[in-house]
Symmetry: C2
Subunit: 144 residues, 2 copies
């Protein structure tokens, strides 16, 4: 875990990005939490460590990480964006009751992309999929 933070920071450094304590903290939090937090959750979680850090800094850095390809922005309906530092190919399963997002792997849906290209004339560069349902915890609570 810590290693991948180091690795990511190295990558940034090489491309001329300065490693500030805030930057380090935000990236570490994202990589270690694996929780798909919102910008505000990141901000509040790091408040004890950085009482004077502003939300703008969180947004600035998230934007940079996204441009550097280290973080993905998830926008599913409702309200604020969530951020995901796991850039391996995977989908998200979202609990409609508690909002939890779990990762889920599935062999690529290339066939879908190909058919979309054929039907629409688009040149397809990727796709995004989310599954919705109720997580085990919420189902358990309901059954009691």
């Amino acid at each position: 875990m810590t290693t991948s933070v180091q690795h990511a920071l190295e990558q940034l450094k090489v491309s001329g990005v300065r490693i500030t304590p805030q930057r380090h903290a935000i990236l570490s939090y994202l990589l270690e939490s694996m929780e798909h937090p919102t910008a505000d959750e990141i901000y509040r979680s790091l408040e004890p460590q950085f009482p004077s850090m502003s939300v703008a800094t969180v947004y600035n850095n998230l934007k940079m990480f996204i441009e550097a390809g280290m973080v993905h922005e998830l926008t599913y309906g409702d309200n604020s964006s969530r951020f995901d530092a796991n850039i391996t190919d995977h989908y998200h399963v979202i609990c409609q009751q508690c909002g939890k997002i779990e990762d889920f792997s599935y062999p690529s849906l290339e066939a879908v992309e190909q058919q979309a290209a054929r039907h629409t004339g688009f040149q397809i560069s990727g796709h995004r999929m989310e599954l919705y349902g109720t997580c085990a915890d919420c189902r358990g609570l309901n059954q009691q």
Copy 2:
């Protein structure tokens, strides 16, 4: 086209919803445009017809149509929500250059849902997928 507007309005009427001119216009626009407009696009498009209509009315009615199951809200990244009155099962192919959204049908991805259920313990109720790429028009412009 017009028939489906009538049908939708009938459906609303039966469930005790009043058919106001604004409501009629918003729904017609959505059903006929097939363009996945934003709330503001709807608002501005209907301004000539309803110079005094407020944005709040557009949002109020969209919300009601969504609750009635006649309209889907699409939230893909960037900024404002888009609204889709086509409730048949289909996916969206989004041009990353001009923002155009095209519909695209594909046989259901039940296998994915089943595997997600097995892997995560969720009870899956549905999914959402979007494909990204470049539309024929934008590709054409680039090639020139």
